[in-house]
């Protein structure tokens, strides 16, 4: 599966011609075929010939494959079809994944949508993250060492500029109504993003935060699906920021709850390393050979290694694990990974005791 995903990820096109289709079990094949035929006729209106040909042929091959299948298998069905613009080779991948497909998803895009497959092979727990304020919200997830922003959006709730005078009360009422509508929108989006994780039993909890009281209004107001609401962990967190930065703050503020999560562990370890470096107390080690020596002495407590397959770094991580060191392999999803790579050649460890 991992190999297949890597292969699919290599595909990209200059136009939206790569077809991804996820069919959950129980969905009648004729329904799906109908949809594809509709999409086919819509695609015939595409102006650019090159794009039109590529899209219609992708849809046509999906239809061809699908007609040969009598019933959607137990775990559902996934189809990727498309043409590689460089080699002009067309290909279709059709398979039933190792885990249940929980959503129906169809799209033609510049790349294949493999994110749902990635979720399947990821064995880690998922935590939902929601930040909400009066006119802005962020929805995301925490998986392993990754925090992902799934959506970040603004609600058009005006501030207090236009007010004053005659119609003030009316405007106040309209503003409150817009606020409630915005919370509703946040709820709908959160449900759409997080329920699939719930259905695949990966969702272990939801962290809810934001500045001020909107988070409480959101929680109390039953805007979330009742199953998701049950997963909201208390307390609700005071978080001033939104977006990526806000989600990171949320996770770090909830570190007591999340102390077994890799993200929190790595982040704390990195902070600890910085602390020791700043103090210059000899408890930090870097350089592949230096680390190897320290490993042999049994002196390395934990190690952060930059994720670079088929290199000395990968070997080092393996060796360290054999010595019983806590090893964290980090990729570019972590802001500090760049620092580990640039400043320390990709590996930095915390020592149990001073060795020099």
């Amino acid at each position: 599966m991992k190999v297949l995903i890597r292969e699919l990820k290599k595909w990209s096109a200059p136009a939206t011609v790569l077809l991804s289709l996820y069919i959950p079990p129980g969905r009648p094949i004729p329904d799906v075929l109908n949809l594809l035929r509709q999409e086919y006729s819509i695609a015939q209106n595409i102006k650019l010939k090159r794009t039109r040909d590529a899209v219609t042929s992708a849809i046509q091959s999906a239809i061809d494959r699908l007609t040969q299948i009598p019933k959607v298998p137990e775990n559902g069905l996934v189809i990727f079809c498309g043409e590689n613009f460089e080699t002009e080779e067309s290909k279709c991948f059709v398979f039933s994944p190792p885990e249940k497909v929980t959503i129906f998803f169809y799209r033609t895009d510049k790349y294949f949508h493999v994110e749902f497959l990635e979720d399947m092979i990821e064995e880690t727990d998922v935590f939902g993250l929601i930040l909400v304020e009066r006119d802005y919200a962020t929805i995301g997830v925490l998986k392993g060492t990754r925090i992902e922003v799934l959506d970040e959006f603004e609600g058009f709730v005006p501030g207090k500029h236009m007010m004053g005078g005659q119609s003030q009360r009316r405007i106040d009422r309209i503003i409150e109504e817009m606020y409630a509508n915005f919370l509703k929108e946040v709820g709908e989006k959160a449900n759409a993003y997080l329920l699939p994780y719930l259905e695949s039993q990966k969702l272990k909890g939801i962290l809810l935060g934001g500045p001020g009281y909107a988070k409480k209004d959101f929680y109390d107001g039953d805007y979330l699906d009742y199953r998701l609401k049950k997963l909201v962990l208390q307390p609700l967190y005071d978080i001033p920021d939104q977006g990526d930065a806000g989600l990171k703050e949320l996770v770090m503020k909830a570190q007591d709850i999340l102390k077994n999560q890799k993200y929190v562990q790595v982040q704390n370890l990195l902070e600890e390393l910085k602390y020791h470096i700043a103090k210059d107390d000899g408890l930090v080690i870097y350089g592949i050979e230096e680390i190897r020596k320290a490993l042999q002495m049994g002196a390395v407590d934990s190690l952060v290694v930059y994720d670079e397959p088929n290199t000395e770094l990968e070997k080092l991580a393996q060796e360290a694990e054999n010595y019983g060191t806590k090893v964290y392999v980090v990729g570019d999803e972590l802001p500090d990974a760049e620092w580990v790579k640039k400043t320390f050649g990709g590996a930095i460890g915390k020592l149990r005791y001073k060795i020099y």
Binding site: R134, H161, D172, P211, P335
Partner: protein
Amino acid sequence: MSQKPHLNLIVIGHVDHGKSTLVGRLLMDRGFLDEKTIKEAEEAAKKLGKESEKYAFLLDRLKEERERGVTINLTFMRFETKKYFFTIIDAPGHRDFVKNMITGASQADAAILVVSAKKGEYEAGMSAEGQTREHIILAKTMGINQVIVAVNKMDLTDPPYDEKRYKEIVDQVGKFMKSFGFDMNKVKFVPVVAPTGENITQKSENMKWYNGPTLEDYLDQLEIPPKPVDKPLRIPIQEVYSISGVGVVPVGRVETGVLKVGDKVVFMPVGKVAEVRSIETHHTKIEKAEPGDNIGFNVRGIEKKDIKRGDVAGSVNAPPTVADELTAQIIVIWHPTAVSVGYTPVVHIHTASVACRITELTSKIDPKTGKEAEKNPQFLKAGDAAIVKMKPIKELVAEKFREFPALGRFAMRDMGKTVGVGVVIDVKPKKVDIK
């Protein structure tokens, strides 16, 4: 429209220290609120059993604000003294809403810092996490040099109206402001009681020991900052309205240049050109706006979804710069461990807040000499000054501080705290097609 010179004034300070109350009382005493608004606020306060908060309710008009007794959004009001016409901006003091305060501060020429003298409240504001402290730093960072410190709640000191307490606060706050680079000739102190208006518009009978001017008198002593009318136009956008029948109305303060009805302006980062159909300030139509004016301007040729807070409108022939990378001089004022490459704080600059990743620590600077002390340091600690390179995570308009000061100074925040301040030395522009 008033012919008096115009000043933007922000009211800042720790949560619950009495900012909204002070502004409400001031505006009411001077007749800048209509009967209806006053009555409505009084009734609403009564209904919620919070009669003591009726003055704050004049400004805190959102349901959420009234029920919880905190300011969340900025309120802009007009107000006049003998000498000036003011736009007064009431800012929130709650730590969760510091980003709103920064937006307000970026648009102000002067500030009233409200500090409660009540036991415990003053100390909370001046603690390491307190917003009296943080707002002082941020006001300075956003270019505010003139500050009137209103030492409030003098009726609640122990004993009431205690001169000793007042002096202690003046001394400590003054020292702190000085350490952050304020010219103390431009900082004034006055003991006040907001709900009764003492030393705000009239002298206090209870504080005979104070012989200085009232807060209102101090307002007339403020100075008008220079107006850079000759520079290319820059208006950082604070909010965008879409009004049915009217169209798109961005709101913001003119920082440099002049805007006239009929002008073509470009909005960055989208790069779309639009035509100005009308300009308004405080519900009054004007033909021309200058630096310092807070305006809403109706534009044709752009949609609401194209622009948002933090974008900048500017001259078509000298458009605002979208930054691919920034070189900045920063000072780390607070950090628990160390700042290294990869660190990604939220940068608050003019009305924008965008996370920026530090991609290079170019050099550490000796604060005494201003010279390079270390090349490419591995990390920075609290107290360090440095030149760094930063990459905005999202599109961001920024200018060199030397050319457009208001668009070139910033605060860095992380985990709900201000970790540093800085100015932009250089900008590597991102190419944007003007449509």
